[in-house]
């Protein structure tokens, strides 16, 4: 009975017939292939529901069927969070080099840049939320799994220092697979560098809101992402230090499905809030207002 219910839903994924005409150029006698233009439909990677991309965009890339919060890139996140006018980007040209001459790193960087059109795994800058000025850093998982090398560490540190100097609140959206292995020790040191900058920011009374998005693990999780005065996560976001597979191998047990999710972390006291994407901007604005930081702290 339930099966029937689910099957019915799939009927929404029908393809408009007029699109068929556009697939001209097929060989004579052959039936024109039914093609879906690139990007018209999107499939939820969690529940498999297929829907119009436009509908999904309107829903802030949250699956209307299962509530899965799909990963956003940094530009999408900025557009969704900040006021439309007045974003000033910092250090947009800062790029990674290959300081250790690590095998394959230079070509991997190039490949990531051409794939994403981004220079590095974080965008930093200054903008406003409901008129409240903020310094923001937004990480980009699609670039090199959001890994932190020298550039990510330096840009975050400069953003923190800018917030310290201008006495503005700081907002960081994290998402990362951890330290960037190809820069080995230099990546590791970025954890200390960013944390030390946050300590100075904390000393002058700066407000830092850390938003955890899916997934935030390793060196980013174990440095600035965990140091917010307030830590918020999106529903379902994976947030933890060690990877699930490594832990399962260590303890020789299967972990529960919800292990390291936002809800799991909330239950274990590691988060202040889990906030739906639709409510995120309003929640941030409210928090900024509660800290009365319109004119700087």
């Amino acid at each position: 009975m339930f099966k029937d219910l689910f099957q019915k839903k799939r009927k929404y994924a029908t393809i408009p017939s007029e699109r068929v005409e556009r697939t001209g150029g097929s060989a004579e006698g052959e039936r024109p292939k039914r093609e879906i233009p690139e990007g018209l439909m999107s499939k939820c990677s969690k529940c498999g529901t297929i829907q119009y991309s436009k509908e999904l965009e309107k829903n802030l890339k949250v699956c209307p069927s299962c509530g899965y919060h799909m990963r956003l890139n940094a530009s999408e996140r900025i557009a969704m969070t900040l006021d439309p006018e007045g974003f000033i980007e910092f250090d947009s040209e800062m790029a990674s080099v290959d300081p250790l001459q690590f095998p394959g790193y230079a070509s991997k960087l190039e490949q990531q840049q051409s794939k994403t059109g981004q220079v590095e795994a974080v965008i930093t800058g200054q903008g406003t939320i409901n008129g409240h000025p903020v310094i923001v850093a937004v990480m980009n998982f699609e670039f090199f799994t959001g890994s932190m090398g020298s550039v990510v560490g330096e840009k975050i540190t400069r953003a923190v220092e800018e917030a310290t100097e201008k006495r503005l609140p700081l907002l960081i959206f994290s998402t990362s697979g951890g330290a960037r292995m190809q820069e080995s020790i230099l990546s590791l040191m970025q954890m200390a560098k960013t944390s030390a900058a946050l300590a100075r920011f904390g000393e002058v009374g700066g407000l830092y809101i850390s938003v955890i998005t899916d997934p935030t693990t390793g060196g980013v999780s174990a440095s600035f992402a965990s140091l917010g005065d307030i830590i918020i996560a999106e529903p379902g976001a994976v947030f933890g230090f060690a990877g699930r597979i490594v832990i399962e191998q260590t303890i020789r047990q299967k972990l529960p499905d919800d292990f390291q999710t936002a809800e799991f972390n909330l239950q274990h006291g590691q988060l202040d809030l889990v906030v739906h994407r639709k409510e995120m901007r309003a929640t941030l604005a409210k928090l900024l207002d509660l800290h009365d930081v319109k004119g700087g702290f």
């Binding site: 690590f102 100097e165 292995m181 590791l188 200390a192 560098k193 965990s226 230090f241």
Partner: protein, 333 residues
């Protein structure tokens, strides 16, 4: 001598040959002294050659040598009047971290070390030197205590990494590491850290935010273990040796990148050959650096530590921006 590593085998074989010749000569009453002297000369040449060209992957094996002195071995030789203090006051007492108060040449200091076990039984108790959050929080408690009483902090780093377990995650492994980085950067007393064996990842760094970071000659320090890197890069953890060569994990590499301040020499063949000599070299370095740092006031110590980490990182940007960036760093306070 026990515990030879594969790269030391030619030396072992030669020693055997010399011993055999000696014995044979004695038994038969033949004088082989010329021959033995020649062999011993060749042995010395070979020894020089082998020990002056230890590769990164050979160092990885030395750093993990089962006989290598642990934090407690070294502490007992370097300090006097040690009294161990336990617990994080929040959850428990993590035996992967030991700490307490001791004297270095008569000066009270707080000493904290990551502690491997000497055998399987002890390793299970000490989680192979991989701390849970309570281990990092214990170390932070002792550091804050040191700060209150104006004692310098000395840490010994020797871990494959923070413990990757479900209970560690539930209790906030990420937060515990991050909090240590944050708080250590602000300690108002001198902090000196020594990487004595394996410095693995965030678990090592969580106890290594010092004004001075020293490293034993054959210790290694990296963002991910060579085994971990190999399994990501080549989907094969057994290629750790290959990864070790690429990752720049040796003390000489890190000195060049200004991640560490000094390399502490080890006895020929590694720290496991002579604990006393190793401890004496560390003690000498610690005392020298402590003397230097004792001239700084609290603000200078914090500034010194901040700038040490602030300047690490290699990247490219436009020339003009670089200049303004340097100016920015100086303004920030």
């Amino acid at each position: 001598m026990a515990g030879e590593l594969p790269f030391e085998m030619p030396l072992l074989e030669m020693r055997k040959k010399i011993a055999e010749l000696n014995q044979f000569g004695e038994e038969k009453g033949i004088d082989f002294s010329d021959e033995i002297a020649r062999l011993e000369e060749r042995y010395r040449v070979l020894e020089d050659e082998i020990y002056s060209n230890i590769s990164p992957s050979q160092k990885m094996h030395l750093a993990r040598h089962h006989g290598r002195p642990t934090s407690m071995d070294l502490m007992s030789l370097i300090f006097t009047d040690f009294i161990e203090l336990h617990g994080d006051r929040l959850f428990g007492d993590d035996l992967a971290v030991v700490g307490g108060i001791a004297k270095l040449n008569g000066t009270p200091v707080t000493v904290i070390g990551q502690q491997r076990g000497k055998d399987t039984k002890e390793n299970i108790l000490r989680f192979f030197g991989s701390a849970h959050p309570e281990g990092f929080r214990k170390s932070l408690r002792l550091m804050k205590q040191a700060e209150k009483f104006g004692r310098p902090v000395i840490t010994f780093v020797d871990t494959k990494g923070a413990y990757p377990g479900n209970t560690a995650e539930e209790r906030g492994q990420s937060e515990a590491i991050a909090r240590n980085l944050y708080e250590m950067s602000q300690l108002a007393v001198p902090v000196i850290c020594v990487i004595i064996g394996e410095g693995g990842s965030g678990g090592a760094l969580a106890m290594a935010v010092g004004n001075r970071v020293l490293m034993l000659e054959h210790a290694i320090y990296s963002a991910i273990s060579p085994n971990g890197a190999a399994s990501i890069l080549w989907k094969d953890a057994s290629k750790a040796e290959q990864a070790a060569e690429a990752m720049r994990i040796t003390a000489a590499d890190l000195l060049e990148m200004e991640v560490i301040e000094e390399i502490v020499p080890e006895p020929r063949g590694g720290a496991h050959r002579d604990y006393e000599e190793t401890a004496a070299a560390i003690k000498d370095a610690l005392w020298r650096h402590l003397q230097e740092l004792s001239g700084m006031d609290c603000a200078e110590l914090k500034e010194d530590r901040y700038l040490k980490f602030r300047k690490i990182g290699v990247f490219a940007e436009a020339e003009a921006e670089l200049i303004s960036a340097e100016a920015e760093v100086q303004i920030v306070d």
